[in-house]
């Protein structure tokens, strides 16, 4: 565009051509904008449609749920109350919160120092140790499942949530990996200054690095919490025989067949299981997105 203006001598006709070209470019740009956004909106509608359909279903009466109707004739928020009377939802919630909270706290206690040593301290074998972290992160849990399951059987802890909680006291590979990536982004100078002042390494970590790594720690904790909230493999493996220790995932998976055959209540229960995660996400969106971005660091 600018080259055209430069070569064409100034004049009424030249300016006329130029404006027309300008207008065309502008129109094309506007068309591109409209096209991109039309596609964007269409894709967004597809992504949101499942949410809309299940919300609509969750408000239908049980009679209407048997039909193929998409829109409720009358709205029944009572379905959400009924979910709690059909299935022990409070028990599931309590178990899930116990699992997720303890696992997250234990993970932080054990994984922060390990990640710190892997990123901020100099020692021989550090790279080897990091490779071990990567290998543990990549190892499917099924590979080591038999001996670990046998171990928990001997400790008489199968049927409880402890086999999923206690290992976090000894570090979680994915969390260590994530925390290390965060710690590496903090400039070395702050820690060095504290060391010159005679701080012990523990104090350097707790007083200097951890406050600066707060967003990273928050993201790691949130990932762990959500992992536990969503976990199905662990609960079905260890607690499927003991409904008193079922989590929301497990309760929800059996909801439709054990407590209800109609879709309206099942969808109400489904929404109840999604809701806490979605709420936390909206409250802490920024921390979350930053965290996910770091999980995809260049390999």
């Amino acid at each position: 565009m600018s080259t055209a203006t430069a070569t064409v001598p100034r004049g009424v006709t030249a300016r006329g051509i130029d404006t027309r070209g300008n207008r065309r470019a502008k129109r094309r740009k506007r068309l591109g904008f409209v096209a991109d956004h039309a596609v964007g909106i269409a894709v967004a509608v597809v992504f949101l449609a499942p949410f809309v359909f299940i919300v609509l279903q969750s408000f239908m009466t049980s009679q209407q749920a048997l039909t193929g109707d998409l829109w409720p004739q009358s709205w029944h928020p009572g379905n959400y109350v009924e979910v709690f009377t059909k299935a022990p939802m409070w028990l599931y919630l309590r178990n899930t919160l116990l699992y997720a909270t303890l696992a997250t706290v234990f993970m932080l206690l054990s994984s922060i120092p390990a990640a710190y040593a892997l990123s901020r301290l100099q020692w021989k074998g550090r790279n080897v140790a990091f490779v071990v972290v990567l290998m543990m992160m990549m190892l499917p849990p099924q590979v080591t499942q038999v001996p670990i399951y046998v171990m928990w059987t001997h400790l008489h802890l199968t049927g409880t949530l402890w086999p999923m909680i206690l290992p976090n006291l000894l570090g979680d590979a994915f969390s260590i990996f994530l925390l290390r990536q965060f710690f590496l982004t903090i400039p070395q100078e702050y820690a060095d200054a504290a060391r010159v002042d005679g701080c012990s390494e523990w104090r350097v970590m707790t007083k200097v690095i951890l406050p600066m790594a707060k967003p990273g720690i928050a993201a790691t904790a949130m990932f762990m919490f959500f992992f536990c909230w969503n976990d199905f493999y662990g609960p079905i493996l260890y607690t499927s025989e003991n409904p008193d220790n079922w989590t929301i995932s497990l309760g929800l998976a059996s909801f439709r067949n054990l407590y209800q055959v109609q879709w309206n209540l099942t969808m109400a229960a489904t929404i109840l299981a999604m809701l806490p995660v979605l709420i936390v996400f909206f409250l802490a969106q920024k921390v979350f997105v930053e965290g996910i971005t770091l999980t995809g660091v260049k390999g």
């Binding site: 949101l48 048997l66 193929g68 040593a117 499917p140 929404i271 969106q285 260049k298």
Partner: protein, 328 residues
Amino acid sequence: MTIAIETRSVGPTRPALRAKRRRQRLTVLAFLTPWLLGVAIFFVYPLIDTIYLSFTRYDLLSPPKWTGLTNYRFMFTKDPQVVQAAYNTLWLVAILVPARMLFGLAVATLVTRLKSGLGLFRTVFYLPALVPPVAGVLAFVFLFNPATGPVNQILGALGLPQPLWFNDPTLSKPSLVMLGLWGVGDLMIIFLASLLDVPKEQYEAAALDGVNPWQRFRYVTLPNISPVLMFAAITGVIAALQYFTEAVVAASVASGQATTGGGNSALLGYPEGSTLTYAQWLYVMGFKNYYLGYASALAVVMFVVSLGVTLILLRRARSLVYGAEGTR
């Protein structure tokens, strides 16, 4: 190291230095102790024990009995269900992983082109990735249920055929792929970040050379984002190898049986075994039927496959190990 100490001999004396270094080593050890115990108890020991148990017959009640290669022989010659399970899992590796990556890249590219509302679109596209897997499967089995599901209602209204989706052995896995595509948001966020990281100057230089959009993607975008694509591909394959929750819940809900994980072997991998995955077969054999020796053999094969995939990653991950600057 020693040279460094000697040249700096103006500083503290040698014994003092040695004491300091010993203290440093103790500090490192103190920071690492819980994790080192974890490596021993939850990684090294069970890995070795799994290999040992894979050569035994073991049911938890009596001690493991050495049977040599029996488990492996059974697996490779006499177990039709492991063939089906391995086929389904490899199908997911071959279809689900590339489909999710292509779709994730497409959505991320779309988001970069949206001049207004980028944040809003990003949130909308990410949202389904947050949905707990069990809730997501339930939602999809409802949406696609043949009789009353909204998808078939809409298809019917448009005069199109109404497939059985999760109840049709040829469509059950594609239905799971659609579920995976709906939850593509995690990949999208990672790809988006790396797309936005591509230096603007490279695009400008390409524009001056007059390249077409495909060349622009092939020679500017792709080299810049390929490390991230590689990482996503490998973690995707590892996740697909252990695909479990969605398959188990979809089969149980679509079949209408309250068997969480396959107590009823007739309905395993409903419909017609089309959703039986390798991880589920391992779970059923080991922890429902207590053939723990056989489950260990299944685990060893899984280990070999996932190790191969991980080693590719580790070779690629040099930059990750040796400093953040990265020498690709």
